[in-house]
Amino acid sequence: MNGVTLEAGLLLAAILFILGLISVLIRRNIIFMLISVEIMLNAAGLAFIVAGMHWAQPDGQVMFIFILTMAAAEVSVGLALILQLYHQLKTLDSDAASRMKG
């Protein structure tokens, strides 16, 4: 149907995933970290879709739907946690929430 290859699709997913990963690693703002996690999840879903297309099977898209659901739930709980954290620490610095250190 079209000439998009598997390699190209997976490459795009990998690049997006790594960008999300870099962002998680370098950001201290916890909302930015949440956004980056969304990017990574999206990249993972992309990889599933590419693989599903490659074998012409619906399973890849089913997995994407599951990831989507999980991302929605994760963002709602995560944002509620961020609200609580901000309420308590008056900052969005993830390093400030280090009370559970060993």
Partner: protein
């Protein structure tokens, strides 16, 4: 179609780079929307139009809007942009970035080195997805339902403003 894929891919990558380099959270979110839209185009070119629609509705719509709401509730101002700038020094991000790029290089090597059967993608329409979803993946759908339920309950529980917000064992420590 191939060209569309590459253009959309390039837009997605550029938009994502912009997301991760912004100091202003709202700007980052706008670039994020762009990135999601580009990825939905990628889905379309891959022959998954239904997923493209879901990507726009849920990622670009619901999730980003939720984050914007939270940012509005937190009432962030120009100071936050400045702190963000202070936090994002090259000294901090160079190391992790190099490590991540090494991982990327390895992934690229894996994708290109393996001799997978060279075939083009074929379209799978929403009907087939629906049959699969409510056929063999029925259990997964139900689990997703529970997950969303847990998400709702959890978000409600955590989002409540309680009078006693600190655990009683931590009260002493907080008082000091």
């Amino acid at each position: 179609m191939e060209l569309t894929f590459y253009i959309a891919a390039a837009v997605a990558i550029l938009a994502t780079i912009m997301v991760i380099t912004r100091y202003n959270m709202i700007h980052a979110l706008l670039y994020l929307v762009v990135s999601f839209l580009a990825i939905s185009v990628v889905f379309f070119t891959l022959g998954a139009p239904f997923m493209a629609a879901l990507e726009i509705i849920i990622y670009a719509g619901a999730i980003v809007v939720l984050i914007i709401f939270v940012i509005m509730m937190l009432n962030l101002n120009a100071d936050s942009v400045k702190t963000e700038e202070e936090w994002l020094k090259p000294r901090i991000w160079v190391g992790p970035a190099i490590l991540s790029l090494v991982l990327l290089a390895e992934l690229i090597y894996i994708f290109t080195a393996s001799d997978m059967p060279a075939s083009t993608v074929a379209a799978v329409d929403a009907r087939e997805v629906g049959i699969a979803l409510y056929g063999p993946y029925m259990l997964g759908v139900q689990l997703c339902g529970m997950l969303l339920m847990a998400g709702i309950v959890g978000a409600y529980h955590l989002g409540r403003q309680k009078k006693k917000v600190i655990h009683r064992f931590l009260e002493k420590e907080a008082a000091q």
